[in-house]
């Protein structure tokens, strides 16, 4: 079945349907990760977006239950070059096509994703539609232009947990503010022995403190951090009450709560090879990233310092508070997919919790 990808600027890519036939729209972004397509497709931060993979062969080792970053795929659609037919890995694994169908994902394959990537890098991320319905292209262009912008969408609700749930462990108790948390963040905390309490995005400060946390973990998530001001408010009201760690959108929320501002990047950072420099040590780490928004450097308040920068473009990759045990990073120390060079940050969070447990504002 033929498929077509139409961008809001009128650019058209032809291909074939893969996954569920139909039509889907979203912000078109690209990821340069060469492994971990399943983790990408199930990363809740891709909600509202259609993700294109630059690596041309996808599905080579199938789909395994253990690589899910959320129960279901969050992306609106996928764009790939080639889907593997015969796969590696034995009988336990599923094929990509089956996964796409089970997740109601509309996708397109046979697309020259390198040309698409260069287009997006030059003109910036833009809205687009994948269709297998033979809708005329001009209609699709119009539809793409009418899609809500990423910042205008309520995406957090789609990916955050509806109800609080607990993964029992021992000390400390970490409250995870779920803005679309990846399973591997939770797994990492659990492995360190934490009792992990996952809370819905719109939990109140009271809801959070009710679980008597030793620290607050503000997760990654989709969309514009400024589209969920109530979450920023919640975090702001808890500043100084307990140690906090933010990842990706959690990092942006923490910055906003501290009084900084964020902006939308031209095409963001998505992939597993982003070099990030730790300014305190001068060390560089290769990180996993997936974000389209960033903190405005000039907006940072005096009591907040930049701890990490991106070595390629100098954007802020990490901040911390000068006096309070608060820090956050733009990248994903939990990897999945991507390097595990910075998992130590979770240990730093543990240290902060041991030095200053929670409960100060209870």
């Amino acid at each position: 079945m033929k498929g077509v990808l139409v961008l809001e600027d009128g650019t058209v890519f032809h291909g074939e349907s893969c996954g569920k036939p139909g039509q889907t729209g979203g912000e078109v972004v690209f990821s340069t990760a060469m492994t971990g397509y399943q983790e990408v497709f199930t990363d809740p931060s891709f909600a509202g977006q259609i993700v294109a993979l630059t690596y041309p062969l996808v599905g080579n080792y199938g789909i395994s239950a253990c690589y899910q970053e959320a129960a279901r795929a969050a992306a609106r659609g996928i764009i790939i070059k080639e889907e593997a037919v015969d796969i590696s890995g034995g009988a336990k694994v599923k094929r990509l096509s089956q996964f796409l169908e089970e997740n109601d994902l509309v996708g397109i394959k046979g697309v020259d994703t390198r040309t698409l990537t260069k287009h997006l890098r030059t003109h910036g991320t833009m809205r687009g539609i994948i269709s297998t319905l033979e809708t005329p292209v001009d209609v699709l262009v119009q539809m793409a232009r009418e899609l809500p912008l990423i910042s205008e969408q309520k995406l957090t609700e789609q990916v955050s947990t509806a109800d609080r749930y607990i993964l029992p462990g021992s000390w400390p108790t970490v409250a995870v503010l779920d803005l679309g948390v990846k399973s591997n963040s939770i797994r990492t905390l659990s492995k360190l022995g934490c009792t992990v309490v996952v809370l819905p995005a719109y939990s109140t400060p009271g809801d959070i403190m009710a679980v008597e946390p030793d620290g607050l973990f503000i997760s990654n998530g989709p969309g514009d951090p400024k589209s969920i001001p109530q979450v920023t408010e919640t975090v702001r009201s808890l500043l100084g009450c307990l140690p906090m760690m933010g990842i990706c959108m959690g990092h942006q929320i923490l910055a906003l709560a501290l009084g900084a501002d964020t902006y939308k990047m031209k095409f963001g950072h998505r992939g597993g090879n982003q070099p990030v420099k730790d300014l305190a040590t001068g060390r560089v780490y290769i990180t996993s990233q997936n974000h389209g928004f960033s903190i405005r450097p000039e907006s940072l308040p005096h009591d907040t310092v930049v701890t990490h920068i991106n070595l390629n473009d100098g954007t802020i990759e990490g901040i911390k508070h000068k006096h309070l045990p608060l820090f956050s990073v733009q990248f994903h120390p939990e990897g999945a997919p991507g390097p595990r060079d910075t998992t130590n940050l979770f240990i730093d969070f543990m240290r902060n919790m041991s030095l200053q447990g929670g409960g100060h504002c209870a």
């Binding site: 690209f30 340069t32 990760a33 060469m34 492994t35 971990g36 399943q38 983790e39 630059t54 690596y55 041309p56 062969l57 080579n60 080792y61 395994s64 253990c66 690589y67 070059k81 080639e82 593997a84 037919v85 015969d86 796969i87 590696s88 890995g89 034995g90 020259d112 994703t113 390198r114 040309t115 990537t117 260069k118 890098r121 992939g271 597993g272 090879n273 982003q274 070099p275 420099k277 001068g282 060390r283 560089v284 780490y285 290769i286 070595l311 390629n312 990897g335 999945a336 997919p337 991507g338 390097p339 595990r340 060079d341």
Partner: protein, 1069 residues
């Protein structure tokens, strides 16, 4: 941390001659390192015995020592040069071992030379099996259960504990030399005894076999600040059990999940940190095919063949960055030279598939054991890039320049199904074609997987290609089918075959359909950032990214994979040609497919195309680049073979015209010219039948030289001494027929002489005359050569110069010409002429300090020799240059130890893989250095084992007497011993093999001989006797020669080593 200012002068140790396991990749790494050092304003001192390398060029280093890579010589260089630092990790295993020896000898301390990059203890921990094991245990990194042994008995008892099969790995050997897999104690005994002998420390690792697991490699770089990055991971399609140098490799990994990849990546970083390496490192793993379980197999604390591959596969200049790191820079201080803007401290993202396929020498060594295992056998490799696996694979196959250009190999069609399964199970160099043949016969992916342990992901891709073969045959050539076939990488020629059209028709048809090759850029970042480096590969059905400049462009055709007969020398020529073009203001476009070379480094040329060297693929580049012309004289026979098809397609071949080249290449035409110019040449004729050949031979008189009419590099060429041998050759070695004519030439026993000339069609530059040490009949590539010849009478020299210049003018040579002569008395015969650069051009250019390739390139651009300042004196029309002060001796180096069952005796067919140079003002010393550099380690006192054929006995007697006089013990088989004793030379009697143990082979095995002289007996002695003697010598690391000329040269050298002489000796009393 910026560069350390205390480092002002750095010694770089090269890797010496090309042998199996250590090829052109170290010239690439060394050259990149030298350029980087110079860029940093550091004085570079270089030592390397290999004259065919770019790194030994005057442009690359401030002080170049073309001297033997032995401890003594390197110490002398250090004494003279007093470098501040030593870069040990760029010269392969040779460089690394040398650095260790220097350290152990206390030389580095004594002369205050700092080891840059990698500390000695890191080298020790990675290289010494025991220390490595301890380190891995400390890091809790799993390694296969193993034990280190120093004797056969310990090997056997260890294997019993580990259970068979076990892998035997000798410590400190190249490319796994002497290793193997043993599935029974008898096998282990054989492998272990050889391995112990070959390991310089008599140490073996007996290891639990993880054969069948996935083999994965990581290239890691670490800096002094402890920043670590992995440049690339690579997946061997062949599972563990086949040496990675002999495996088909794909990058990035295809069948690893992110969790598997990150697990191995993190382990790599832990290991490089623990080793404290500041620079590059290669780590190999075995990964369970179905669960997250792995073993660390090997760590190379240096740049390797794999790092060259990773460099080319990703565009990341590993050697350059490793050098900067060794100087003290941290990774974040280095710019990514591909994008020109981002940092070098990142990990490349690929958006294409890279396939590497090894090139094996079995076309040259028909008797060789072709089975692949832990001993590397490939001489070279090709790399291909595609947007899918299929196209990368097919492009790789075409790049190999085998008889087949496709997935089908005719010799496999006759195999029975059982034989096919056997071939699947025990892989040899044909395994890819065996798999395809299996699919053609309907054998399932599942069954092939079971037999080969190759991942079904890869098998299904091969099956897909096989299916497409029949699809093409059935569906014909509509646009969609054609586009799909091209996207999968099928060549026009192959499509033509399936669709029953001609290649040109397919090309025309796809043009009509608008199906054209599109070029994509290798940019290290999958399109995320704009890139500045013009490094391209082709694909179909996608956007074209090639930015064609308006400049005056010239294409240089490279020489493809390193193989016997076409080595690194031709890459040297290609690179110099590209540089000469740029210097002359033209833009140099290089097309090549060898990942090990300098020519495929993206900053060597103005634009690099990584493509198979077929007429279709080269034409695709030409159609878009629209060059002023193409240079075919520098890429060896590969490039020459393209001249005709390209010219027929309307492409301008610069320099000597295609029809003029044909005058040299076509035997009939060439003979005609020689007759016309009244230049003597050996008489001969062409035979279409056994009877015809016999008639010609009788007329010429034996011995005669016989060979098939169209061959390269002396393949299947033989000297036959009588009717019986001729008949045997014509019926067994080569089947003569009307379709397959045989050339029969008179064999002139004389001195062989060679000339490399440059001509502009009018004047001729003749840079000296080389004289071969061995008599005519041994391939020029396998002969030692003295340059300039010191023994030819003036009359002969003048004849050679005269013939050369007249031939060059007659053939209207514009560029390079190589001519081989045989000199008998005062008579000079022309044997053959090659209208291209030869393998001796690099060393002659260096010794003469005359840039032959540059001069030739400028001629091809239209300049005359006179324009370049080379004016012939007088009316002869030639300029003769010969070095006055120095003598250079080029000596071949062989890789017989890596190739079981290969006949080591030399003949008209080339067998050497590399060469060394001995350089001195004293010709005998030059010879001595050449022997040393080539690995002839002959002690001043010792035992010489001689088994001499009757025809050679008289000649041998004088030589052996000479050795006897020097105090050597002579051991000999009965006939030879009797002759010696008759002449008053005492000789130890050694049994022939048929006389029972202990016989000659035992004598060699027991390490009793220091040099083995075995001359060939034709048709008398059982042929296998000599063969077994020579193989035993090779396998037990004893110098062995079949040429009395070589032995005479050794004798002369040994005589010259005696420093004391009586007055009577001096004055001749």
């Amino acid at each position: 941390m910026p560069k350390d200012p205390a480092i002002k002068k750095v010694l770089v140790i090269g890797s010496g001659p090309i042998i199996i396991g250590q090829a052109a990749e170290f010239d690439y790494a060394g050259t990149q390192a030298c350029r980087t050092l110079k860029e940093e304003g550091i004085k570079v001192v270089l030592i390397n015995s290999n004259p065919a390398t770019i790194m030994t060029d005057a442009e690359m280093a401030d002080r170049i020592y073309l001297e033997p890579l032995t401890l003594d010589f390197v110490i002398e260089v250090i004494k003279v040069e007093r470098p501040d630092g030593l870069l040990p990790t760029l010269g392969g295993q040779v460089g690394l071992n040398m650095a260790e020896k220097l350290w152990e000898a206390g030389v580095l301390d004594k002369y205050n030379v700092r080891l840059l990059g990698t500390p000695v203890w890191a080298i020790k921990k990675a290289e010494d099996r025991k220390l490595f094991k301890e380190l891995m245990e400390e890091l809790q990194e799993p390694i296969p259960a193993s034990a280190i042994v120093n004797s056969i008995e310990d090997a056997l008892s260890t294997a019993d504990k580990l259970t068979y099969p076990v892998i035997v790995r000798p410590a400190f050997t190249l490319g796994g030399t002497g290793g193997g897999v043993a599935s029974r104690s008898e096998e282990l005994e054989v492998i272990a005894s050889k391995g112990l002998k070959l390991s310089p420390v008599n140490q073996l690792l007996i290891e639990q076999s993880v054969a069948g697991w996935k083999e994965i490699e990581y290239e890691v770089i670490r800096d002094a600040k402890d920043n670590c990055i992995t440049i690339c991971n690579m997946e061997n399609i062949d599972p563990v059990g086949i040496h990675t140098g002999d495996s088909i490799v794909v990058a990035p990994s295809q069948t690893l999940s992110d969790v598997e990849h990150q697990t191995l990546r993190s382990a790599s970083i832990r290991i490089i940190r623990a080793l404290g390496i500041e620079g590059g490192c290669n780590i190999q793993y075995a990964l369970h095919p179905n669960k997250l379980e792995y073993y660390v197999i090997e760590v190379n604390p240096r740049l390797s063949r794999s790092s060259a591959l990773a460099s080319k596969a990703t565009g990341y200049p590993i050697a350059r960055v490793a050098t900067k790191v060794a100087l003290g820079y941290s990774l974040d201080e280095i710019t990514n030279s591909v994008t020109g803007s981002t940092s070098a401290c990142f990990e490349p993202a690929l958006d294409y598939v890279v396939v590497k396929i090894p090139r094996w020498p079995f076309d040259k060594f028909e008797t060789a054991q072709r089975k692949l295992g832990s001993q590397m056998k490939a001489t070279g490799e090709v790399m291909a890039l595609g947007r899918n696996f299929e196209s990368a694979l097919l492009k790789g196959i075409r790049s190999l320049e085998l008889d087949t250009q496709t997935l089908s190999m005719s010799e496999l069609k006759t195999l029975t199904k059982e034989e096919l399964f056997e071939a699947l199970k025990y892989a040899d160099d044909r395994r890819l074609w065996v798999i395809a043949e299996a699919f053609r016969r309907g054998i399932s992916i599942r069954e092939v997987e079971k037999a080969t342990s190759i991942n079904p992901f890869f098998l299904s891709k091969i099956a897909n290609l096989v299916q497409w073969e029949s699809k093409l045959a059935a569906a014909g050539s509509d646009r969609e089918t054609l586009l799909m076939a091209k996207t999968l990488g099928f060549s026009d020629a192959q499509i033509a075959e399936f669709c029953q059209m001609t290649t040109l028709e397919v090309r025309a048809l796809r043009k009509k359909y608008g199906i054209e090759a599109a070029f994509r850029m290798v940019d290290t970042c999958a399109g995320e950032f704009p890139a500045a480096t013009p490094y391209y590969y082709s694909t179909y059905g996608e956007a074209n990214e090639l930015e064609v400049s308006e400049e005056n462009k010239v294409i240089v055709i490279g020489s493809g994979p390193i193989r016997i007969g076409q080595g690194i020398e031709f890459d040297y020529c290609s690179v110099h040609s590209a540089w000469a073009l740029q210097e002359a203001g033209a833009s140099a476009v290089v097309i090549n497919n060898n990942p090990e070379t300098v020519s495929t480094d993206f900053d060597t040329s103005s634009t690099l195309f990584f493509e198979p060297l077929t007429d279709e693929e080269v034409l695709n580049v030409i159609e878009q680049e629209k060059p002023a012309g193409v240079l075919v004289q520098f890429g060896g026979q590969t490039a020459i073979n393209l001249a005709k098809p390209l010219a027929e397609a309307g492409v301008t071949i610069l320099g000597t015209s295609v029809s003029d080249m044909d005058l040299a290449e076509d035997r009939e035409k060439f003979h005609h010219i020689l007759q016309e110019l009244q230049i003597p040449h050996p008489q001969g004729g062409t035979a279409m039948s056994v009877k015809g050949a016999e008639e010609i031979a009788l007329e010429l008189g034996f011995p005669v030289l016989v060979r098939p009419s169209y061959v390269l590099g002396g393949r299947a060429m033989e000297i036959v001494y009588n009717q019986g041998e001729l008949r045997q050759y014509l019926t067994q070695a080569v089947k003569v027929s009307r379709q397959n004519p045989i050339l029969v030439d008179r064999y002139i026993l004389g001195r062989e002489v060679e000339v490399d000339a440059v001509s502009d069609g009018r004047d001729v530059l003749i840079p000296g005359i080389m004289e071969h040490v061995e008599k005519a009949g041994i391939h020029s590539g396998d002969s030692s050569a003295v340059f300039p010849s010191r023994s030819l009478p003036q009359e002969v020299i003048e004849k050679i110069l005269d013939y050369t210049s007249r031939l060059a003018r007659r053939m209207q040579i514009k560029g390079m010409l190589n001519i081989q002569f045989v000199v008998q008395g005062l008579e000079v015969y022309v044997l053959e002429a090659n209208p291209r650069s030869s393998r001796t051009v690099p060393f002659i250019s260096k010794v003469l300090n005359t840039p032959l390739v540059k001069i030739a390139t400028r001629i091809m651009l239209g300049q005359s020799l006179a324009d370049q300042g080379y004016q012939p004196a007088g009316e002869k029309g030639y300029i003769y240059l010969a070095p006055e002060k120095i003598t250079a001796v080029k000596m071949p180096v062989f890789s017989f130890a890596k190739l079981a069952d290969v006949e080591t005796s030399l003949g008209p067919e080339m067998k050497s893989t590399g060469e060394v140079l001995g350089l001195d003002t004293d010709p005998t010393k030059a010879m001595y250095k050449a022997f040393l550099a080539a690995g002839y380690d002959i002690p001043p006192q010792g035992t010489i084992l001689a088994t001499i054929a009757d025809k050679d006995k008289a000649e041998a007697l004088e030589i052996l007497k000479g050795f006897h006089m020097l105090g050597y013990t002579i051991a000999a088989t009965p006939g030879t011993a009797k002759m010696l004793q008759g002449e008053g030379v005492a000789a130890i009697l050694v049994n022939k093999i048929k006389d029972g143990s202990p016989h000659v082979v035992d004598f060699i095995r027991q390490g009793k001989a220091d040099l083995v002289i075995n001359t060939l007996t034709r048709g008398k002695e059982p042929a296998r006797d000599g063969f077994r003697i020579r193989r035993a010598a090779v396998e037990y690391g004893v110098a062995c020669t079949t040429s009395l000329d070589t032995v005479r040269a050794i004798l002369k050298v040994m005589e010259s080593m005696i420093r004391v002489k009586s007055l009577q000796d001096y004055i001749g009393g």
